[in-house]
Symmetry: C2
């Protein structure tokens, strides 16, 4: 559609997640028409991020150092490990300020359709970490979908033989949501997990 390098830019932008052909075109024109330093800055930061970012040797969270800022924070509770699918889940949990322990990134969830079995996930590394007798609790915080639930079930069975307490995030009605619009599964879980308030 467009000439050489303009189309190249649109094509590359279109490969990004959540960016369709129309958005890619819009972003490309924005970059071409804006001041030179906007595009240059983005290009620089891209290359720099790619060079500097690596994965924490302990929890596999993305990090600029060998150990991520959470694993190297002396104030964190070393007795709690929260197991998540991806690094971005850590950011979401950190925003709640509810958890002061460490994390473990699996790198995905069990999905037979996508060909991801337990061996493709960082489960062996998790087992090694759990050999530490100081660990009191493992919190399974995989996504509340089919793959995440399967992964949580698999892990809870594996950890069942150990002396460590295994917990799972609560399922239920989202705060601020309408009961009327909740899907059956969520409402069912909310009933199943109901708590005494008096």
């Amino acid at each position: 559609m467009y000439e050489g390098v303009i189309q190249d830019l649109i094509d590359e932008l279109g490969k990004l997640p959540g960016v369709g052909p129309k958005s890619a075109q819009r972003i490309a024109f924005h970059l071409i028409e804006s001041e030179t330093d906007v595009a240059t800055k983005l290009a620089e930061v891209l290359v720099e991020a790619k060079q500097k970012v690596r994965f924490c040797e302990l929890c596999a969270n993305i990090s600029q150092e060998q150990r991520c800022s959470i694993c190297s924070d002396p104030k964190r509770d070393l007795g709690l490990i929260c197991v998540v699918e991806e690094s971005k889940d850590i950011a979401a949990i950190e925003r709640t300020r509810e958890f002061r322990g460490l994390y473990h990134v699996l790198g995905g969830a069990i999905s037979p359709i996508a060909g991801i079995g337990p061996d493709q996930l960082r489960i062996k590394d998790l087992m090694k970490r759990l050999a530490d007798p100081g660990i009191r609790e493992v919190i399974l915080a995989t996504n509340p979908n089919l793959e995440g639930e399967a992964t949580a079930t698999y892990l809870s069975r594996m950890l069942g033989t150990m002396e460590i307490q295994v917990t799972k995030l609560a399922s239920g009605l989202p705060v601020g949501g309408d009961l009327e619009y909740a899907d059956d599964m969520t409402l069912g879980r909310a009933f199943e997990g109901r708590r005494r308030v008096n």
Copy 2:
């Protein structure tokens, strides 16, 4: 939220049009976690596009040469000029394959709120082009919104004194749309511009 360069990347991505904080985070993680050449390719293409792309000296369309591929195409009808707001409008019109003339990019539309008057648009250049006696028709293809309509009205008045035919794109019901869901303005325009079919 994130460490140094990761947050820098998210911030830069978040400045792009249509990319909110969540999308920026998703794209940043995608780039960090993907093969190195995905990010590098994007950075290269960005810098290259920024260096190579300029504006056609005749119609102001974006181009890699002094004249864009349309202005330098000997098969185009030099007697027709289609006036658009932005380069991307040209791509949209080219996709229809309905128009074989040349274009003229105004670089925006008259908008008193945004402080854009006729002098900020490439109207003088248009007038210079229209001095050519070979030009038979000017098609006003500004956006069918307040600013675009104001610009079309302004241009049609300016061109009214000339010997050139001035036309405007038809307004009406979008193809594939439902009459029931059409807004009042569009339905009104569809009535106003109704055509005999027998």
